[in-house]
Assembly symmetry: C2
Homo-oligomer: 129 residues x 2
Amino acid sequence: MPRRKREGFVMISIVAERYNIHPQTLRLYEREDLIRHARTGGNTRLYGPDELKRLEMILRLTRDLGVNLAGVEVILNLHRRMQQEMDVDIDQWMSYIRQQVFDRRAGVERENALVKAASRELQRISTKK
Amino acid sequence: MPRRKREGFVMISIVAERYNIHPQTLRLYEREDLIRHARTGGNTRLYGPDELKRLEMILRLTRDLGVNLAGVEVILNLHRRMQQEMDVDIDQWMSYIRQQVFDRRAGVERENALVKAASRELQRISTKK
DNA sequence: TTGCTCCTCACGTCACGTGAGGTGGC
DNA sequence: TTGCTCCTCACGTCACGTGAGGTGGC
């Protein structure tokens, strides 16, 4: 059986493989109402381009920024609102989210640098005595 | 000793009492860099009007919406950005957050209604046989 | 001294991701 | 039949809030 049923729509195993995510996690996201997608007549989930776009935003928020699902819900609703009412386009939005990831990583690097400096200092002291 | 040091600035116990929040939690929020406030010369934390405003937003997000601290960080940064770049004022923003709380509560009420309906159904079935 | 403050360490609870186990349709 | 899908249940890990215990300054 081909795993593509409609043009551009894919089954759960394809999505799981492409984004390196557990199928159960995808089912969890649906149950939590973060993603709504179609089903085949045989009750199999079908992911289209819009759902995959949304999934990418969810993964960026959860994996890269550590936001929980309640936070994802607030942020995605906010995104929708901004789009509707204030003409914030998706590129602007994604660039913002990316910037957050960048800031976060910069923070981690600063922390790593501090840890390294501290361990160098420790070594310096211990070899000194 | 009076617990007010400067006009409009209060110590941690006052804040804890007013918002019904554990002092350790307030210290945690500072450590996580969600709130930055002044200290007295004796190293005691001082909360001013701006910090309390920010704290209210944090509590609304964590308590009412279940957002974790990483999510709060993203959302508050987003708020700052919107203010700076897109002239979204604080009233607009808070009304949005309040709307989210309202939607969430409506969802809970829908769930409660479903549970009640299900238990009525169960009772109906059990008395029937 | 009293009642606050500061700090660190540790525990309990819950959310979230993952896995097992058993079902059914193409 | 094979390899997917569906589902529920349960476990491990981690974040976050809370508490204890001991310190110090007004």
